[in-house]
Amino acid sequence: MKVYTQNDKVKIKLKVNGEEQEVEVEPRRLLVHVLRDLGYTGVHVGCDTSNCGACTVILNGKSVKSCTLLAVEADGSEILTIEGMAKDGKLHPIQEAFWEKHGLQCGYCTPGMILQAYWFLKHNQNPTEQEIREGISGNLCRCTGYQNIVEAIKLAAEKIRQNPQEYLRLA
C-alpha cells in the first residue's frame, strides 16, 4: 500500500474512451472531479453520498460511481464515459433507445443511466422488467418516473441482441 500526504502530487495515467491521459493530482481528489477537469463533463455530480449514480462510468469493465473513488485508485485503468459511447458520429443503440422512448427530460441523470444500462445489458441481454428496475436502482432520476427509461432499456436490449459483439465491445 502506498501512503500519500496531502501535499504530494501524484502522476496518474488513465485511458479514457481510448485516449491516454496523464495528469498530476492531489491524492485526495475524487475520480469524478479529475474526469470532469479533463473535459469529460458528461460525468455529472448529483450527490455527495453515492446515492444518485449521476457520476457512473465504466472502469475496467465494471460500472462504478466515480465519486466514490479517489483518482489515484484509478491509476492505470481504462474508463468509458458517455462521451465514448457514440462511434464516428453514430449513436450507440442505448442512446438511440433513450431518444426514441423519451427516456430523458432534463438529461442530468442520463449519462449515468446510459452507462449503467450498458453495464447491465452486457451481463443480461434478456432482462425482465424487474431485473431492469433493479439494475438501475442505484441511479436516481427525478424527471421521468423511470417508466420510459425502463422501456428504453428494453428496446436497447432488443437492438443489442442483434449484434452483441459490435455493441458491447466498448468496455
Binding site: E26, V43, G46, W99, G107, C143
Partner: protein, 731 residues
C-alpha cells in the same frame, strides 16, 4: 400536421452524448470558487465571524461575511446571517478560492461566535407567539381570509357535519442537478450563467440589488438539471456570488454540494388543515370551512401559496359556500416556496380526502359521492370567483369510473386471497398558465430555416420541440427546419420563464402569433419580388404562390433574395423584415382537470406497491402526447414519493435530520411502477392554440388516489402524507 404527433425531442442529441452544458460544465478562465459556511444552529444571534486563519490558506483569495441586502420578501439577514441566523443552512460566510477543495479546507478554519436563541420548530409553537422565530417579528407572517357564499350558516344547517385534521408534510424538490451559478466578470457588465427557470426574472432581481455596482447583467440559462419550481425565486447564493465577483473583479462559480442543496433550496408544502364540511344525508356538500396553517420556515414569498390552496379548496365540485382562513407562520426552518403544483396539490389532497371520508361516513360509493357534487357545466365560477374555463367534468369522471370499477374487481379478488389491496380514485381541477404573458420571435434565417426564440425557459419539459411543432404547422415547413432557442436575456428583451404550467400555452401562442406576423411580412416582400399585389398572393406550405400566374417562391428563395447580395442599394418595395415578435397573454387562467386511479398493495412490513395506475386528463389540445405523458409519468412518481417516501424531518430542537439523498428518499426505479395515461381534448383553452398545461397536474392527482388506495388496503382512515412504512405495518 405535427400537432398531435409523438415527435421525438429536438433537445436530446446533446444530452444523450454528454454534450449538455450544465453550470458546472461551463469553464471560464481564472474563475474563483465560492464555498459557503452555513449556520449549524437553528436560531442564534451572530456575534463575530472568525476567518483570519482561513485567509492565510494558500489559494484563498477572499472571505465575505455580513452581507445584507434589502430584498423584497426576504429577512433582514439576507443573503447572510449578519446578526441573527434563522435556520440550519443559512449562509454566514463565503470563501473565494482558486480550487474548490481548498475552499472547503478554508471553511474548516472559519468559526462564528453566537448566542443561541430558542428555535421555533412547529406550527403549534409558532402560533403561541411566545418565542419568536425571527427576532422582533410576529410569528404570524400573514393571515388571509377567503370567503364565498354563506359558509357558517350553510355548515350549521347541514344534516351531516364532518371535522377533520389533515397534514401535508414538508418536502424537498430534489432536482438532480443541485443549484449553481457562474458569474463572468466583464468590467462594467456581468454575464451570469444560471441554473434557473427564469433568466429574465433573475436579471431583474440581481439588477435591483446591484445597479449601483454594475451597468448591466446578462443572464444565460445553462442546461438545467431539473427544477420543479425550486429554481425560480432568488437565493442567497445568487447574490453572494454576484457580490463576490464585483468586489474581487473576478469570475466566480458556485455549485452546491447535495447536502447544502438540501439545507438551502426552498422546501415546500408543509400545511396543516382543520377542515369542516357540511353535507346533506344524500351526499350533497353544502359548505366547506378550512383553517389552513402553513409552516413558512424563516421567510416567504408573498401569499400565493395561501391564495392558490384556499381558492381551490372546493375543487371540481359545485360547493357554493366556502371559507378558508390561512395562517402563514414563521419557524426556524428553510424558507418555504413552491414545488410542482404549488398550492394545488395541497388543496386537492384536502378536498379529495374530504370526499372519501364523507363517502365512508355516509356509507356511499366514493365515485357516487363525487358525481353528486361534480360541476355540471362550464364555464363555472367557484365561490371565490375563479372562473373554470372549459371542459366536461362529468364525462371524464364517468370514464375514470370504468377504470376504477375494473380495478376494484381485481382488488376484491386479491383481497379474497388475503392480500391487503385497495383502490383509490382522485378527481381534481387545476388552475394554471400563470401569466401575465409571454413573448416569442420567429425569424426566417438567410438559409431559409426558421428560428424561434421564446421567452419561456424550459428545462427538461421538451417545450422547444412542442413549439417547433406548432410553428412548423403554422408555416407549413419541415420540423427539421425549425429550431427553438431560449434562455438568454440578450436574445429576447422581456420575458418571464417557465413555471406554473404555462410555457406551451403562453409561449406557444406567442410563437404562433409571431409566425403569422412573419407570414404577413414575407408576403409583402414576395409581392415586391414577384411584382404582384399582396392580395393576389397566397401562402401555401412554406411557399408564396400567385394562383393567377402560377409563379411561386419558397421561403428559402425569399430569404436569399433579401439577404444574399452584399453591397448595392436598397431596392425593396416592402421592408426586408424577416422576423416578427409577438406577446401573448390571457384574461383568465386555464383550468385543466383530471382523475387518477391507483390500485395499491400494502405488505406486512408496511411497504407500498402500486399494482396498477391510470391517469386521465383533459388539457385541451395535446401538441405532443409523448411529452405530455412524460410530464404525467414524472409527476405521478413525484406524487408517490411525497405520499410514501419523502419527508424533510427536523428534530425537536430544529436540527434537520434528512441531509442526504440517503435520508431523503426519492423513489428509485424499484419502488416506481408502470402507469397509463389517457387524454381527452374537450376542455380547450380560449386561445389560438387551445392547449392548457400539464407540467403539474400529476403531482396534484397522485397523492389523494394513492392515499385512498392505502386507506382501503389497510382499512384505517388516513389523514396525512407521507404515510411511511412504520405507519402502515399492522405490527
Amino acid at each position: 400536421m405535427y400537432i398531435g404527433q409523438r415527435v421525438k425531442r429536438k433537445e436530446d442529441f446533446r444530452l444523450i452524448t454528454g454534450n449538455g452544458r450544465y453550470i458546472d460544465d461551463i469553464q471560464i478562465n481564472n474563475v474563483l470558487y465560492l464555498s459557503i459556511l452555513r449556520s449549524n444552529v437553528p436560531h442564534a444571534k451572530v456575534k463575530k465571524v472568525n476567518y483570519e486563519d482561513a485567509m492565510k490558506l494558500s489559494g484563498v483569495v477572499n472571505v465575505v461575511t455580513g452581507l445584507n441586502l434589502n430584498v423584497d420578501n426576504r429577512p433582514r439577514n439576507f443573503p447572510m446571517g449578519k446578526d441573527e441566523v434563522l435556520y440550519v443552512g443559512q449562509p454566514v460566510a463565503a470563501v473565494l478560492s482558486t480550487d474548490r477543495y481548498v475552499g472547503y479546507d478554508a471553511l474548516d478554519l472559519i468559526t462564528f461566535d453566537y448566542e443561541e436563541l430558542t428555535p421555533v420548530v412547529d406550527i403549534e409553537q409558532a402560533m403561541t407567539n411566545k418565542v419568536k422565530a425571527v427576532e422582533g417579528r410576529d410569528n404570524l407572517a400573514y393571515k388571509r381570509t377567503y370567503r364565498g357564499g354563506e359558509p357558517e350558516s350553510a355548515y350549521n344547517k347541514s344534516e351531516v357535519k364532518l371535522e377533520q385534521e389533515i397534514e401535508i408534510g414538508r418536502v424537498y424538490p430534489s432536482a438532480m442537478e443541485p443549484r449553481g451559478l457562474l458569474v463572468e466578470y466583464q468590467g462594467d457588465r456581468l454575464t451570469v450563467y444560471a441554473s434557473t427557470q427564469s433568466p429574465h426574472y433573475m436579471r431583474s432581481f440581481l439588477l435591483n440589488a446591484f445597479s449601483d455596482m454594475v451597468r448591466d447583467i446578462r443572464v444565460i440559462q445553462a442546461d438545467v438539471g431539473g427544477a420543479f419550481g425550486s429554481k425560480l425565486f432568488p437565493y442567497p447564493e445568487d447574490y453572494i456570488a454576484v457580490y463576490s465577483s464585483l468586489v474581487t473583479r473576478r469570475s466566480v462559480k458556485v455549485v452546491l454540494p447535495r447536502r447544502e442543496d438540501i439545507l438551502s433550496t426552498y422546501h415546500a408544502r408543509d400545511q396543516k388543515h382543520r377542515v369542516r364540511v357540511g353535507a346533506n344525508r344524500d351526499g350533497r356538500v353544502n359548505a366547506i370551512i378550512d383553517d389552513v396553517f402553513i409552516d413558512l420556515g424563516a421567510a416567504w414569498h408573498g401569499t400565493y401559496l395561501a391564495d392558490i390552496a384556499a381558492t381551490l379548496i372546493t375543487g371540481p365540485y359545485d360547493i357554493r359556500n366556502a371559507l378558508a382562513n390561512v395562517f402563514g407562520v414563521l419557524t426556524n426552518k428553510v424558507p418555504l416556496d413552491q414545488y410542482r403544483g404549488a398550492g394545488r396539490p395541497e388543496a386537492a389532497f384536502v378536498y379529495e380526502r374530504v370526499m372519501d371520508i364523507l363517502a365512508d361516513e355516509l356509507k356511499m360509493d366514493p365515485v357516487e359521492l363525487r358525481k353528486k357534487n361534480v360541476i355540471q357545466s362550464t364555464p363555472y365560477v367557484n365561490p371565490f370567483g375563479l372562473k373554470y374555463d372549459s371542459g366536461n367534468y362529468i364525462n371524464l369522471l364517468n370514464n375514470a369510473e370504468k377504470f376504477y370499477s375494473q380495478m376494484e374487481d381485481r382488488a376484491r379478488k386479491l383481497r379474497e386471497k388475503g392480500k391487503r389491496v385497495g383502490v383509490g380514485i382522485s378527481f381534481y381541477v387545476e388552475q394554471n398558465n400563470f401569466g401575465p404573458w409571454e413573448s416569442a420571435s420567429v425569424r426566417l434565417l438567410s438559409n431559409g430555416k426558421i428560428e424561434v426564440i421564446i421567452g419561456a425557459a424550459p428545462h427538461g419539459q421538451g417545450t422547444g420541440t412542442g413549439i417547433a411543432q406548432v410553428v412548423a404547422d403554422e408555416l407549413g415547413v419541415n420540423l427539421d427546419d425549425v429550431d427553438v432557442i431560449w434562455g438568454d436575456t440578450d436574445k429576447i428583451s422581456n420575458a418571464f420563464g417557465t413555471y406554473g404550467s404555462r410555457s406551451l400555452t403562453l409561449a406557444g401562442n406567442a410563437a404562433l402569433l409571431a409566425a403569422r406576423k412573419l407570414r404577413e411580412n414575407v408576403l409583402r416582400l414576395a409581392a415586391s419580388f414577384m411584382k404582384s399585389d399582396v392580395e393576389e398572393l397566397q401562402y401555401k406550405e412554406g411557399k408564396i404562390v400567385n394562383p393567377k400566374s402560377s409563379r411561386e417562391m419558397t421561403l428559402k428563395e425569399i430569404a436569399r433574395r433579401t439577404t444574399g447580395d452584399l453591397g448595392g442599394i436598397w431596392k425593396y418595395k416592402a421592408e426586408p423584415l424577416l422576423e416578427a415578435t409577438a406577446s401573448f397573454g390571457m384574461d383568465n387562467f386555464t383550468f385543466p382537470y383530471g382523475s387518477h386511479i391507483a390500485m395499491v398493495e400494502v405488505d406486512d412490513t408496511g411497504k407500498v406497491t402500486i399494482l396498477e395506475y391510470v391517469a386521465l386528463d383533459d388539457i385541451g389540445v395535446v401538441v405532443n402526447p409523448m411529452l405530455a405523458e412524460g410530464q404525467v409519468f414524472g409527476g405521478i412518481i413525484q406524487g408517490f414519493g411525497e405520499s410514501h417516501l419523502e419527508e424533510v424531518i427536523y428534530d425537536e430542537s430544529g436540527n434537520p435530520l434528512t441531509v442526504s439523498l440517503g435520508d431523503y428518499a426519492i423513489p428509485t426505479a424499484v419502488e416506481s411502477f408502470n402507469m397509463k395515461w389517457i387524454y381527452s381534448e374537450e376542455g380547450k383553452a380560449n386561445s389560438p392554440l387551445p392547449a392548457k398545461g400539464i407540467g403539474e397536474g400529476a403531482t396534484i392527482g397522485a397523492p389523494p388516489a394513492i392515499i385512498r388506495g392505502i386507506e382501503r388496503a389497510t382499512g384505517k382512515r388516513r389523514t396525512k402524507i407521507p404515510l411511511r412504512m412504520e405507519d402502515l405495518s399492522p405490527y
